[in-house]
Amino acid sequence: MLRAAGSRAIIVAGWAKGEAMKDRRSFLKRGAALVSGATLASRANADPLAGEPWERVYGAGFTKYGQPARHEQIGRHFGQPYGELAPGSGAALSPIEMLDGIITPNPVHFIRSHSGTPDIDPKAHRLYIHGLVDRPLRFSVDALLRYPRITRTYFLECSGNSSRALTPKPAQVPAGAMHGNISCAEWTGFPLRALLEEAGVRPQAKWLLAEGADSAHMSRSVPLEKALDDAMIALYQNGERLRPEQGYPVRLLLPGWEGNMSVKWLRRIKLTDGPTHTKDETSKYTDALPDGRALQFTFEMGVKSVITRPSSTMKLAERGFHEISGIAWSGAGRVRRVEVSTDGGQTWAEAALTGAERPRALVRFRYPWEWSGSPALLQSRATDENGNVQPPRRDWVARYAPDTRFHNNSIVSWGVESDGSVKHVYA
């Protein structure tokens, strides 16, 4: 019986391929005879129909809030520079090597926090707007939820993303553990401009200070120009209310700019005539140069891309077809082009893009590759609509001090060895 069924499969496959068949009619007749013979035989023997165990039992009931398949081991990578002393100071990086598409699921959106995640009661939380305004105002969360909303897709990237790719030797860890301080979500809220206009910004105001209600009271200075342009008060992320790690109940969102300027747990906005020079815009998040000086207020995140599949610590099972895929983005606007090289940058080919119409959002790129089995060096290089091009690693490193950690947007290299293993390399 089994043999007959097997023959049928082969015959049908052969027919579909359009192989030469001199007597097609008799061929079909013979096939039909085999099929009916198999059916009759199985009925006669009362053998069970084909089907896996889960097809033979009633399935699970509903859940209130979904979970991934139990076979999928997905989770963030932790970076905790102070260890158990301050487990919520540092980052939980998005597992970009396990994701595809453009949107980062909320449970694995990267987290960067300076003093952990506060447990905020939305009934007690307030947002204040004061300083150089005509009318200092206080907003309850319920009040913020009443403003007419907009929905936009934007990436967020910590400016310390990819600092782990600046160690003296290339770390052999998954792509997300180095480059996963990047995520992309659909944000819903309303323009910050609405609240600023309600408070009445005075002409002397040129900046604002945004401050969180975490125990670090993380604060950053924001130029008024950005606040009145595309800055958002965000309340929802990918359709649901913000999660605690992402700033519940309300966060600021500054598209394309250093992630920590999108202040989470937003409690206060003070209009000022200049920058406040907070700890996180002087001692940190400044870009040290080789001559001892440092760049300050480098807000925009540079044009960048990284191949997520295949990537560091993966192994190609066999030679032949492999899709090279990854993510690209630019804080300046739209990604215009992503090129892929499989020979360490000697030759480049243009990848297909998904999502390139959206400014300051992730773009997914894909490139079909036939792996010969020889060693290969995979790289990607993004160009944005302003003509900014992702720089080679050696050029980027030469530009900064040896201990700098911010705004590393240089080209990432994955070496494929002849056994298929993928290594992180500096090239």
Partner: protein, 180 residues
């Protein structure tokens, strides 16, 4: 105008109205509540380089040592050498070398940032707990460790913003951005 032509005009207006996206008549919402200065005072903790907003109170490094030993030393080490948390002192002159040490003394451009940050975020497990006198005193101590002020210099709302940090001129503002 005859009744018939009035109906025709009305119908035409209706058609135009239907063809045009409906414009809202609602004014922009205003849900903010007025807030009194007294309520804001407790939240208004950011201190710019001018020192505007610094509270009353004062302290010296000699007084700050006690605050430091009680609240800071366990993480920042004796005399601010660091470990497990960031080093607070030393490194002056190291920024252009191959092993830069970035501390309050060697890197931070403004003394006001030190007061601001200690008051808003430290100690890590009990922020907003130090008195303003304690914050002035421990700020004075960290500045003293870096050789920026003397052990008995009184730090207060007037004197703290006057302290010139060694790396005051070490930063280049990238805003507004330089375009290619």
């Amino acid at each position: 105008m005859s009744t018939r032509s009035r109906i025709a005009v009305a119908a035409a207006v209706t058609l135009v109205a239907c063809a045009t996206p409906q414009r809202t008549e609602a004014p922009p919402p205003r849900f903010g509540e007025p807030v009194a200065a007294a309520e804001l005072a407790g939240f208004d903790i950011s201190i710019p380089p001018s020192g505007e907003g610094l509270p009353l109170g004062s302290g010296t490094a000699r007084q700050g040592l006690k605050v430091y030993e009680q609240h800071c030393l366990a993480c920042h080490g004796a005399q601010g050498v660091g470990k497990p948390a960031d080093a607070l002192a030393g490194g002056v002159g190291s920024l252009a070398t191959k092993t830069p040490l970035r501390t309050v003394g060697s890197y931070w451009p403004y003394s006001t940032t030190l007061f601001d940050y200690v008051r808003r975020a430290m100690p890590l497990n009990n922020p907003l707990s130090l008195t303003d006198d304690e914050v002035y005193a421990v700020s004075a101590y960290v500045l003293f460790l870096n050789g920026v002020v003397s052990e008995d210099a009184v730090m207060n709302a007037q004197s703290l913003p006057q302290v010139k940090m060694p790396n005051r001129e070490g930063f280049i503002s990238d805003w507004p951005p330089r375009r290619n």
